[in-house]
Symmetry: C2
């Protein structure tokens, strides 16, 4: 893999969506995806700037605007089959950092990628996507794989390209004019009538830590879906699948920092220990299968 100094997050000037490349060498020379072999271009401390879908992983899902991408590692280079567990390190960690930081990821599809969205030959840059979630799964092989859900950034979005954050000590040049500003969407919190209902039951008190954030216009809380909404999880938007959480615990829950164990205990995944008990209300039943589903996303046992 090439050293990727001065990684560009966003569009590479001169190569708009739809740009075609005969092979990986050409794609690399253009700077659209610099590694000539690896599927993920990125560093664990800065994020991933691009990925290639090239049929290398049996578990990839490609719905066009939504892609469920399988992480790196554990597969036999000859057959592409998983032969060992993947870990959240190196390029996989880079994609997770892109999720945390809301960085745009260039997506390239290759002709060998089995999808109706693949180009007929060579490789094609398909535009910018955002990693909106990641989790672990047992792949078809029986081994743990890391999965990254990418959603296409709509063209009307304010996303463009920006250089990577420079090392500490040299602050990046800021932008004083909002016209020139380049921003990336990081975290979108959604709500619904069902979500509002759950928050009202708990009077906006966090079911994990008990905090009740107070503003001048009343309390603030968020509704966290236990089994996530949307592809590929397809969790339902029903009260039994929702927790009332403070923003901090919502982030930790969505990013797998905490899971809920069988008797409604809150477990810290990085610390591998129980840190408290989930606050419950008799008028708000929870679906244990949803909690088990969420737990499996981050704690394969």
């Amino acid at each position: 893999m090439m050293k990727a100094k001065g990684r560009i997050f966003g569009e590479v000037p001169g190569y708009p969506s739809g740009s075609s490349f005969p092979d990986r060498k050409d794609l690399s020379a253009a700077g659209v995806h610099r590694p000539t072999m690896a599927g993920i271009s990125g560093g664990g401390d800065e994020g991933a700037d691009s990925i290639v879908l090239s049929g290398g992983y049996e578990d990839d899902v490609d719905l066009g605007d939504v892609i469920v991408y399988t992480g790196h590692g554990g597969n036999d280079p000859e057959t592409g089959k998983q032969i060992a567990d993947q870990t959240l390190t190196r390029q996989n960690l880079a994609l997770a950092r892109s999720c945390h930081e809301g960085l745009p990821v260039r997506v390239i599809r290759g002709a060998r990628h089995r999808s109706e969205h693949s180009p007929p030959f060579g490789l094609r840059y398909e535009g910018l996507y955002r990693v909106d979630a990641y989790w672990a799964e047992r792949g078809r092989s029986g081994f743990t794989i890391w999965r990254f859900r990418l959603e296409r950034v709509s063209d009307g979005n304010a996303l463009g390209s920006e250089p990577a954050a420079p090392p500490a000590g040299s602050p990046p040049e800021g932008v004083a004019s909002p016209r020139r500003q380049v921003l990336s969407v990081q975290r979108v919190v959604r709500t619904s009538a069902i979500a509002q209902y759950v928050k009202a039951i708990h009077d906006h008190r966090c079911q994990v830590c008990g905090i009740r954030l107070q503003t001048g216009a009343g309390p603030y809380s968020e509704a966290a879906h236990i089994r996530p909404l949307g592809q590929p999880h397809n969790g339902p938007d029903v009260v039994e699948n929702i927790l009332c959480l403070c923003p901090n615990d919502h982030v930790l829950f969505d990013l797998g920092g905490i899971v809920i164990t069988e008797p409604f205990l809150v477990m810290s995944v990085p610390q591998h220990q129980v840190i408290g008990e989930l606050r419950r209300d008799s008028s708000h039943l929870l679906d244990p299968t949803a909690l088990a589903y969420h737990r499996l996303l981050f704690d394969q046992g």
Copy 2:
């Protein structure tokens, strides 16, 4: 004002964007904006479902897709001039709740509203907007006014209509199929290379409470712009205008639950008391004028 039971948040069936109405009575009968006099339709405990721009307030700003709407109260019904301070109660509180809950607000423009976006006669339903911020200001009159920044919800968005949350005791019918799901965007956290730089300086530790959220893929923090980005504040995206905060303190900072006082003390606005000191780093200077700007948004003294 009419009683607005069964408030609809979102489009009213049969009245798409662009629907015209000869007068307020007709607009009310259609259910698009039910009060026949008031500019804001809403209740402090459920949120606001619609507003009318009709030239009643001297401080309204209308940029088309972005509207800075002036709250209710304190104006002379004859002249429209402010003659007293506005408070964050009743319909104003309803708009603030819509911000917290991410509820869509129907926007109607009247011919008397002084803007290039106004219809030539009567009233026109203009589509769904989202309240993405609110704050207080001294209006042109010298009195405090509450301001609500509304941004048009793009047509490609998944927003549609949904009934208000029913009272506690009767949970709303959930939706098991994601196709039928109606969601509203509540809170979008943005980032940039400059934001990443500030978060790295503080190693993702919150400058207000000192927490450092830990996930399996490393720490998580958010960058909060002190003087907000975009119209009408136009704060710059530079390190001096950014704080590294946990999601909880980011929400409190953006919604005016906390402000930073002159010697870098953190003050709770609802409690009117100092709750701590801002954690600072010698390599991250803050702009005192930006902090003063933010303070004035929520604490008029």
